[in-house]
């Protein structure tokens, strides 16, 4: 169970966030896994389920700066990265940073942006830097993108190809809250105000420290081999056209390490991998038959591979 967090620090963050993000525990944990694995998160969900709330809550609780990009089809790359503006007073061009120069960036409805804008965003995500007019600007650390995508409305959108989706470490959907959580929300009204008032519980330095701690979590060759045979199986499976890449393998091992850290262990066990697989892998493969569920296919493959020991 992914909710079974045992690490005290992480537990504190989750409990803190839970006060104003009712019924989103799983989404919170997965977002935290993405942040601490130095990856980015893609949320595919219907509007009005609290994507923005989640992003704001995270930034407040972790004491990080927050930027938001609402994508439309006339959004330009410079609207994201920022641009050089002529300053009359100094008579020089001055760099005006875009919303991407924040620790947590919410890219809403990423599939509404044109491919050109999408790719400039994805490039910035991968490189963690932006180059404008020949000058390279480093993005702040930690840097974490939460992109959202609406799975229902396709009219006038540019869905991200799987090759681009590969750049998101995790893809989740928040889903409807439980009846109990929903009734609580309705009783109390929107808690957006509370969110903005949320007190920070951690700072940047601590986040960076935990990130480097997680990279030192021990992962045995036995598990690496098991992951590799799984990746290999996805490449050979007749139901799949495009199997998992090496980047996917890296993402699996990073997130598994983070998961192990959350569970209070300093080594990875197969369950850590199994738990995060449904969020790390399905968006990276292409099936022959669209009618099948990617997640089901992935789970059926991993079920066939013997687990060590």
């Amino acid at each position: 169970m992914i909710e079974n967090v045992k690490n005290q620090k992480i537990l504190n963050i989750i409990n803190h966030l839970k006060t104003c993000l009712q019924g989103k525990e799983k989404a919170i944990i997965l977002s935290l896994i993405a942040i601490f694995s130095k990856g980015h998160l893609l949320i595919e969900d219907l509007p009005g389920l609290g994507k923005t709330s989640l992003a704001i809550g995270l930034s407040k609780a972790l004491n990080l700066t927050f930027g938001r990009i609402q994508c439309t089809n006339d959004l330009l790359p410079s609207d994201i990265t920022g641009l050089n503006v002529f300053n009359k007073n100094t008579g020089e061009f001055e760099f005006k940073p875009g919303p991407i120069f924040n620790n947590i960036v919410l890219v809403d409805e990423i599939n509404r942006a044109t491919p050109k804008t999408q790719s400039s965003l994805l490039e910035a995500m991968a490189e963690e830097q932006v180059t404008i007019d020949g000058v390279t600007h480093k993005l702040p650390k930690p840097f974490f993108v939460i992109a959202t995508q609406n799975p229902i409305e396709f009219y006038g959108t540019f869905p991200l190809p799987e090759g681009q989706l590969d750049r998101f470490m995790l893809k989740i959907n928040i889903g409807y809250p439980t009846q109990k959580a929903e009734s609580e929300i309705l009783m109390r009204g929107s808690s957006r105000e509370d969110l903005y008032k949320l007190k920070p519980i951690m700072d940047k330095e601590e986040i960076l420290m935990i990130q480097s701690q997680i990279r030192n979590i021990y992962i045995s060759e036995k598990i690496i081999n098991w992951i590799i045979s799984f990746i290999d199986a996805t490449r050979k499976d007749p139901k799949i056209i495009l199997g998992l890449s090496t980047r996917a393998g890296l993402a699996i091992s990073y997130t598994a390490k983070t998961n192990a850290f959350f569970k209070g262990r300093d080594y990875v066990i197969p369950e850590d991998v199994k738990e995060i697989l449904p969020f790390v892998t399905p968006h990276r493969i292409i099936l022959k038959n669209d009618a099948l569920s990617k997640e089901e296919v992935i789970l059926s493959i991993i079920e066939k591979i013997p687990v060590p020991p």
Binding site: S220, Y267, V268, I302, P306, V307, P309
Partner: protein
């Protein structure tokens, strides 16, 4: 060899090669018995199969069917009812080669193996050599391997296999073989067998015996054959006395020796010497004459007729291995009061030149004994050779005057001829000379290459043996490995018949067959060693804490699936107490295992302690359940 260089091998090629080896190994068992034409056709078909396989050629189905039909009919074109085995075997060999040629699906491969199995069984009709065991093991292992491969190909439709796959296949193969060996020993010892051979119909194999007619140069072809002719169980005796007598000849026409059927025994005959009793295990010779140690006095075998002088003849040609006992005298004195005129017969075309030479050679001799010695001395100038033997119209004169080289046949014939010219009765005796002693089994091995002819001359009433070519023949020494295998095979496999089986069952305490205890001891030791190593390895594998844990959990009714992680497995347990205990165990276990640390003593003890706790809990739970019921 492109396909060999990569890490993964193509299943196709691998299967092709294993099947090729299976076919060739079985074919080797029959190759010396089938006719040369069919051997060539077989090899050509195999070669063609290689072309077809590696060039990716495709043959029409009807061509293959036509070939099959032709090859079934062809060997039977000129056959006799007595000789039905060879054509059948030939047809079988050719059909399997044709099968090898055609497109190969798993079904075809199984057909090839079935045909190979039939061929293999057929090969036992021809030979009982220990190489059978070797071939059997090879074919067995290879067939197992290819069955694995075919199953793999069928189940996964993967085109390539890698090292790991092959490794695991070999592991299972060894396991199966290790299991089969003790089983087959048990079957061999106790499965009922018939006291009579199942296939007693005859066929003509390669002849290694002497017939009643010997053309000059015939024996040399026998001498080039290395196959074992017989084994004689007897105490070790000096090589000079080792003459195995089969037949004697009296009539010489210049080109060949024959024997007159009816020479009657003389009125007065005595024989004395050292008496030896021995038993002979004779391989099929397809002739009627029995080899015996010179000079034989008695044979313990039914339906054998004795012809003068000491030629023992069976009623039918010997087409099955034959065992008999006999008595012989060595260093004997053989007296006859009078001899037949036949022993002075001369070929009609004998030249004056020869007679003159004989006179010259024996000019200094005063009596018969000196004549013999001078002829023996004269023949020492001649060269012994198995090659380029004179075979013209008058081979003896060719030998004496021109080539001056020949084998025992020429030496013996020349000597007998010269003695007869000088008026001394003489005859040529055919048989074997020498033999290699197998100290393990206490028997002599005599090979076809030991075939020999020598002379007997009647001197002052005594028949004496003279061997003009003795000391010229270099005998091949048998290796220890051969001796060992030969002994083992013959003693324990071939000689193990219905009688010994009955004996074994009725009297299990005492060893049923006489053997050297030491050898049995070593064999047993090896066997026990192998079995105990295997069990130890399996035991050790099961002794790891995890295996114990999983066994315990299975006892408690929770079986772990291969695709479940330990934590996943334990968290699904419904019994809370058991779950906690199990969780304790796997937490410690995983901490060591997934951190790639070695299990040291403290850890093992700790784990074992937890296991005991678990065991106690499971036991108490079970007794509680019983109480409830």
């Amino acid at each position: 060899m492109r396909w060999l260089s990569t890490d993964s091998l193509k299943v196709d090629h691998l299967l092709f090669f294993t099947s090729f080896l299976i076919l060739i190994i079985t074919f080797l068992g029959i190759v010396s018995n089938i006719s040369i034409i069919f051997m060539v056709i077989f090899l050509a078909l195999i070669f063609l199969a290689f072309l077809v396989h590696f060039r990716g050629m495709k043959l029409n189905k009807w061509i293959i069917n036509l070939l099959s039909i032709i090859f079934v009919i062809l060997p039977f074109v000129n056959f006799s009812l007595e000789d039905i085995v060879i054509p059948s075997v030939e047809a079988l060999a050719l059909i399997s080669a044709v099968r090898f040629l055609s497109q190969k699906t798993p079904r075809e491969y199984f057909q090839i193996y079935l045909l190979a199995l039939l061929l293999f069984s057929a090969s036992t009709l021809f030979s009982f050599s220990w190489t059978f065991l070797l071939r059997f093991f090879l074919v067995f292992a290879l067939s197992l391997f290819s069955v694995f491969l075919i199953t793999y190909l069928k189940d996964t439709s993967q085109q390539y296999v890698d090292k790991f796959f092959l490794k695991s296949v070999f592991k299972y193969m060894l396991l199966i073989i290790a299991f089969c060996i003790p089983m087959s020993v048990i079957f061999f010892l106790f499965l009922p067998r018939t006291p009579y051979p199942l296939f007693s119909f005859g066929f003509t194999g390669s002849k290694t015996g002497f017939s009643s007619l010997v053309n000059l140069g015939d024996v040399s072809s026998i001498q080039e054959d290395r196959s074992v002719v017989m084994r004689v169980y007897i105490e070790s005796i000096p090589q000079e006395a080792l003459y195995w007598r089969i037949i004697s000849f009296d009539n010489f026409n210049g080109k060949n020796w024959t024997r007159k059927e009816k020479i009657s025994f003389p009125e007065y005959l005595t024989i004395s010497g050292k008496r030896k009793t021995y038993s002979v295990l004779l391989e099929p010779s397809y002739e009627n004459y029995l080899p015996l140690l010179d000079f034989p006095s008695k044979i313990y075998l039914q339906n054998v007729t004795l012809e003068y002088p000491a030629v023992y003849k069976t009623a039918t040609p010997i087409s099955q291995p034959l065992k008999y006992m006999a008595d012989s005298y060595i260093e004997y004195e053989y007296y006859e009061s009078a001899v037949s005129e036949n022993y002075l017969q001369l070929p009609p075309n004998i030249s004056d030149k020869t007679k003159k030479l004989v006179a010259e050679v024996t000019s200094k001799a005063k009596d018969d004994e000196e004549i013999i010695n001078s002829i023996m001395e004269f023949l020492k100038n001649y060269e012994y050779s198995l090659k380029e033997l004179p075979r013209g119209n008058n081979p003896i004169e060719d030998f004496i005057f021109n080539t001056k080289r020949g084998n025992c046949e020429y030496f013996a014939s020349t000597m007998a001829l010269m003695l007869r010219i000088k008026g001394i009765p003489a005859r040529v005796v055919g048989g074997f000379k020498g033999g290699s002693y197998n100290p393990l089994g206490g028997y002599y091995v005599i090979r076809a290459s030991d075939a020999h002819l020598w002379v007997e001359a009647w001197l002052n009433g005594f028949w004496k043996r003279y061997d003009p070519s003795s000391g010229r023949i270099v005998r091949y020494k048998e290796s220890f490995v051969f001796n060992f295998l030969d002994y083992f095979w013959n003693k324990f496999i071939i000689a193990y018949d219905f009688k010994t089986q009955l004996h074994l069952i009725s009297n299990l305490k005492s060893p049923p067959i006489p053997f050297k205890r030491k050898i049995l001891f070593y064999v047993l030791l090896c066997f026990i060693g192998i079995i105990s190593t295997i069990t130890f390895v399996i035991y050790q594998k099961n002794r790891t804490p995890l295996k114990k844990f999983l066994k315990l959990m299975e006892k408690a009714g929770y079986k772990r699936q291969q695709n479940k992680g330990l934590m996943e497995f334990v968290s699904e347990i419904s019994d809370e107490n058991l779950k906690n205990l199990a969780m304790n165990f796997i937490e410690i276990y995983m901490k060591i295992y997934f951190k790639d640390k070695d299990f040291d003593k403290i850890h093992i003890e700790k784990l074992n302690f937890l296991l005991r706790e678990l065991n106690a809990h499971i036991k108490s739970r079970r007794s509680k359940n019983k109480g409830d019921n």
